[in-house]
């Protein structure tokens, strides 16, 4: 698990500051004219049930590797300047930050597209699992497209 804050791809237990992460990416280039962010947070309701707690688990090394592949592919395919991806693991309360993607580019269009593709690709290819705790017990979530 990486704990360095200068890496553009991180999986970490601790929370992150959206502002700090955006500011860090703004320093990448003086040619940035558009920034799109996606922030995923802990939702209280799922399939009609109240969630009391979330817990995320990952496959160390493979998960980081997949996030880096998504970052590199986003830059190549959408022509953005850079991207950072941060995903938290461990226990997460309702309303807390889970995942942040920051796409920076010369213009907004490519950053919107890159950000949307990156979160979908993360869910499809990155070995991270979510366990929800409700009043009826705990369940590993396996069906979130």
């Amino acid at each position: 698990m990486s704990t360095t804050t200068d890496s553009k791809v991180r999986i970490q237990l601790e929370d992150f500051s959206v502002t700090d992460e955006i500011e860090a990416m703004k320093k990448v280039s003086r040619n940035i004219g558009g920034i799109t962010t996606f922030l995923g947070t802990g939702r209280e309701m799922s399939k009609g049930e109240n969630i009391t707690k979330l817990n995320f688990e990952h496959y160390p090394k493979m998960a980081e590797k997949k996030l880096e592949e998504i970052r590199v592919q986003s830059i190549k395919d959408f022509g953005i300047i850079d991207m950072s991806i941060i995903h938290r693991i461990g226990p997460i309360d309702i309303g807390e930050n889970i995942v942040l993607i920051v796409a920076v580019g010369e213009h907004r269009a490519e950053t919107f597209k890159a950000c949307e593709w990156a979160i979908a690709e993360l869910k499809r290819t990155t070995p991270i699992w979510k366990r929800e705790t409700t009043s009826t017990g705990e369940v590993w979530v396996q069906d979130t497209p």
Binding site: F56, Y59, I128, W129, R131, T144
Partner: protein, 84 residues
Amino acid sequence: MITIKYFASLRTIAEKEEDSLDIENPITIDQLSDIISKTAPKMGAIIREKKVMISVNQEMASADTIIHDGDEVAFLPPFSGGAK
């Protein structure tokens, strides 16, 4: 010796987080699932029915991927990271 890892829901089914297996010669994932079935039939069935993804040394693998001594095999249930 190969290392076998089980994640998330599969850890409960396999009743373990990690296992190791001595192999004399390289084997395929299919052959590994046969070996696992002998001691953990439920887990073996899940692998054969392709209800899980499999990686070898952190790269996605298939039923005919060959496993060598020293490799790390992981059984991965459907991912659910990120957020809707």
